[in-house]
């Protein structure tokens, strides 16, 4: 008699990879493989359905048939690693990016990435505003080494395509979405959640680099350096103004 571990290993191999586990199953009526196929089918449907729920705009853009085909191929590469299916789609955008590298449908991965960031933002923890009185007490000599913290719901996004416009235009299910010119160029964004709703802030290259650096826990001076290096040559990077803007937007909420 196999141990429980052995039995589970073989049955999961049958359900996920189509391997044989017939001798473990009681005979009678249906064949063991027909019985195991019920579970294999449930597993496929549950996985695909979780992706459909996580990427409704992508689903609308590409249609059910192609979406499901991508979902099945993605599952072979990135099977579910959690009992909570909400996380199963975390690498789907990256997978689509590899699938469409250099192709004319490269923008699909960016739209998918934006959708995932929106979901993450909507489910992130709450956080209060930055305590300005506490910041005012900091000695100026310490400014450079401060590490500012972004709101748990803040997410940074960049695309060479008008990904947000495509996303917004395809949110509604009743209306026919307008044509969008992919060549019109992309943008850098800060996603935020306020009052339960998503907010998008357009970012300059300098602001994006600055916030990305903060998100990676860099000290203020290092983040300013990144921001200045990425800023458009024409516009100088005004670190104090940038800091004020994102504190006001409740994107920067704490420091240490």
């Amino acid at each position: 008699m196999p141990t429980l571990r052995e039995l589970q290993t073989r049955v999961l191999g049958a359900v996920l990879d189509g391997e044989d586990a017939a001798e473990l199953i009681r005979a009678g009526g249906l064949t063991p493989s027909e019985r195991l196929e019920v579970y294999a089918n449930n597993a496929r449907i549950n996985f695909t359905e979780s992706l459909r729920l996580g990427y409704p705009v992508l689903l609308r853009l590409v249609g059910e048939a192609y979406f499901d085909q991508c979902a099945r191929a993605y599952r072979m590469q990135c099977p579910s690693r959690s009992g909570d299916l909400h996380s199963a789609g975390a690498a789907f955008a990256a997978y689509l990016g590899e699938l469409h590298t250099g192709g004319e449908h490269r923008y699909l991965a960016d739209v998918a990435h934006l959708e995932w960031l929106c979901q993450e933002s909507l489910m992130a923890a709450e956080h209060g505003r930055l305590d300005l009185a506490r910041l005012a007490e900091v000695a100026p000599a310490r400014y450079e080494s401060l590490r500012f913290k972004l709101h748990p719901a803040a997410r940074l996004f960049a695309s060479d395509y008008p990904a947000r416009e495509i996303w917004e235009a395809n949110l509604a299910t009743e209306t026919e979405p307008p044509l969008i010119d992919l060549a019109k160029g992309g943008e850098r964004l800060l996603l935020m959640r306020r009052g339960g709703r998503l907010e998008f802030h357009r970012l300059s290259p300098g602001e994006h680099a600055f916030l990305e650096s903060l998100a990676a826990h860099a000290a203020f001076a290092a983040a300013v350096e990144k921001g200045a290096a990425a800023a458009d040559a024409a516009a100088a990077f005004d670190a104090a103004a940038v800091l004020r803007r994102f504190v006001a937007a409740e994107a920067i909420v704490d420091f240490s």
């Binding site: 008699m1 196999p2 141990t3 429980l4 571990r5 039995l7 589970q8 290993t9 049955v11 999961l12 359900v15 996920l16 001798e23 473990l24 199953i25 009681r26 005979a27 009526g29 249906l30 063991p32 027909e34 019985r35 195991l36 019920v38 579970y39 449930n42 597993a43 549950n46 996985f47 979780s50 099977p79 579910s80 690693r81 959690s82 009992g83 909570d84 299916l85 909400h86 199963a88 909507l122 489910m123 992130a124 923890a125 709450e126 748990p152 719901a153 959640r193 339960g196």
Partner: protein
């Protein structure tokens, strides 16, 4: 938790539940749908919880798996239990994962002594982590393991005795398994000790034909069928009234239809109660 009928809470009904305050005794929410650390969805459940008793029902803990318990999943469940203070917390007598890979379906265990010791210890560990008793639900099944040494009802009863958990009897799952494996659903009911059952589930299923055979699949996509209502009557006679859930989470109907199913369950219970008095 009131010993009346509640309904499964689905995201598409959130706003209607808040604006209409439907007359149902309680709501059951899938735990994993409210694992978020913040945001609108969990705030909505906070507001619903202010008005209704709540049960948190998990589908993803993979209790019977021989992998280590998923510490992150358990921590999320614990956070949800602390936040929403549900009257009941439940999970399934099943497994879903090995080696870190998940089928995300409710696979049955072999009904052996080894599996009994294993799953009972895991349930006890979860109860310790949550600081409370949980209920364990019998699952629908489409296969039986050759090595099973006892019937499911004996295994389920022993799990409750070994782990100290309560039982959530899903009457549709008993009906589906009884059809698929050709046993008597009433024999199952009568083998379960009276005091162990703290909740019933009622749901709809689908029929899939395989040649000459018909397999019942637990889809939760239709109304409760007459045969399952009949089993509910038998369960009420044996166990008395306990909180009863209408579970319908695929091809979800309007909220009013779910409330009507709950009303039907309440009417059946009242009828039997009046008859007995």
């Amino acid at each position: 938790m009131p010993a009346h009928a509640g309904i499964g809470l689905r995201a598409q009904h959130h706003l209607e539940v808040l604006s209409e305050s439907p007359k149902v005794a309680w709501f059951e929410a899938h735990s994993e749908n409210y694992f978020a650390a913040g945001g609108a969805r969990v705030q909505i459940l906070d507001r619903i919880r202010e008005r209704y008793p709540l049960s948190l029902h998990g589908v993803g803990l993979s209790l019977g798996s021989t992998d280590p318990l998923d510490a992150e999943h358990l921590a999320n469940l614990r956070r949800a239990v602390e936040r929403f203070e549900p009257q009941l917390v439940s999970e399934h007598l099943s497994w879903s994962s090995v080696g870190g890979r998940f089928a995300n379906d409710l696979l049955p265990l072999p009904y052996t002594d080894e599996a009994l010791r294993h799953v009972s210890a895991r349930i006890a560990a979860v109860q310790d982590a949550l600081g409370r008793q949980i209920l364990i639900e019998n699952v629908s099944s489409y296969l039986q393991f050759a090595d099973s040494a006892m019937p499911e009802w004996e295994f389920l009863t022993a799990v409750a005795a070994h782990s100290g958990c309560g039982l959530l009897l899903d009457l549709n799952n008993i009906y589906v398994a009884a059809h698929n494996h050709r046993f008597d659903a009433l024999e199952y009911l009568h083998a379960i000790p009276r005091g162990a059952v703290q909740e019933f589930h009622l749901a709809g299923h689908s029929r899939v034909r395989h040649g000459a055979l018909e397999l019942l699949i637990d889809t939760h996509s239709t109304a409760v069928c007459e045969a399952v209502w009949e089993l509910y009557r038998a369960a009420l006679r044996r166990f008395g009234a306990v909180p009863t859930l209408i579970e319908w989470d695929s091809q979800i109907p309007p909220l009013a239809e779910l409330v009507a199913e709950a009303d039907k369950a309440n009417a059946l219970e009242a009828q039997l109660h009046a008859h007995a008095a």
